[in-house]
Homo-oligomer: 129 residues x 2
DNA sequence: ATATGTACCGTTCGAGGTAATGGTACATCT
DNA sequence: AGATGTACCATTACCTCGAACGGTACATAT
């Protein structure tokens, strides 16, 4: 398989990586159990910072597309094919969209909704990126 | 009644105005039916831009705390006392808070939620401030 | 003519967030 | 010793957004 990263693309680099790996899994170019290159290795090949690749791997593991086994390397998850098709962002987007519409119907202004959103994000415990 | 606006206060000026007028209504200093100063007049008195006062009036009218009758002036709404106590922002805040928590439980990252929020705000028709 | 609320164009400033980068360090296993 | 994933510190640049401001214009009614 081959991965192409476009630095000029407005889409974040780590997002491009995630998408391409998921696509490779769906196309069958990456089969469950296959070992993936290490973070540092892939960062070298694609001329990316290791943090960027690590971020992509972190997301992919959360989505159960890959499995990281510490010093033993990273592998394609057994259920990778199914999990690659799941679009968490779409779910989040629809959920939030509904609430926004509800708030607007209630008479709230966009700026009020934005402020409330910012407050709500801060009031609850923080999370990693 | 008297209104004091603090420019150094991090709270937006139009928000300070809204709060103080609502408080005056609740305290009984502003009674239903009372005519309020015009936007330009109040802007002069408080040394604010007329847009700032207009924005505050716009919000107050949406909340049915005041009634604007065009060239005839602006008056305190008959149900102003009750409506001043209603806190729309609190409702919006709790609604959004619930959704954020749900999204986080679903495994979404804060940054993903923020991006989804931004997208959701843009995908749907725009509104005034 | 004057005042009213309203609406549009624009700009400036600051805060906050994301993305990406760098460096360093750790415990773990081969 | 070397590689692994992971974690912390930091900075930089870019962008978006809110807030406030200025100017101008409009239809309406007094």
């Amino acid at each position: 398989m081959e991965i192409l990263i476009d630095i000029d693309d407005p889409i974040p680099l780590f997002t491009q990586l995630i998408s391409q790996i998921k696509e490779a899994v769906i196309k069958g170019e990456l089969k469950p159990g296959t070992q993936l290159p290490s973070i540092r290795q892939l960062a070298n090949d694609l001329e990316l910072n290791s943090k960027t690749v690590a971020k992509a791997y972190r997301h992919l593991e959360r989505d159960s597309v890959i499995q990281t086994r510490g010093y033993r390397g990273t592998f394609v998850h057994p259920d990778a094919v199914a999990n690659s098709a799941v679009d968490l962002n779409a779910l989040v987007l629809s959920k939030i969209g509904e609430v926004i519409e509800a708030c607007r119907d209630a008479g709230a202004t966009d700026s009020e909704i934005r402020i409330a959103f910012g407050d709500a994000m801060n009031q609850r415990p923080l999370r990693r990126n």
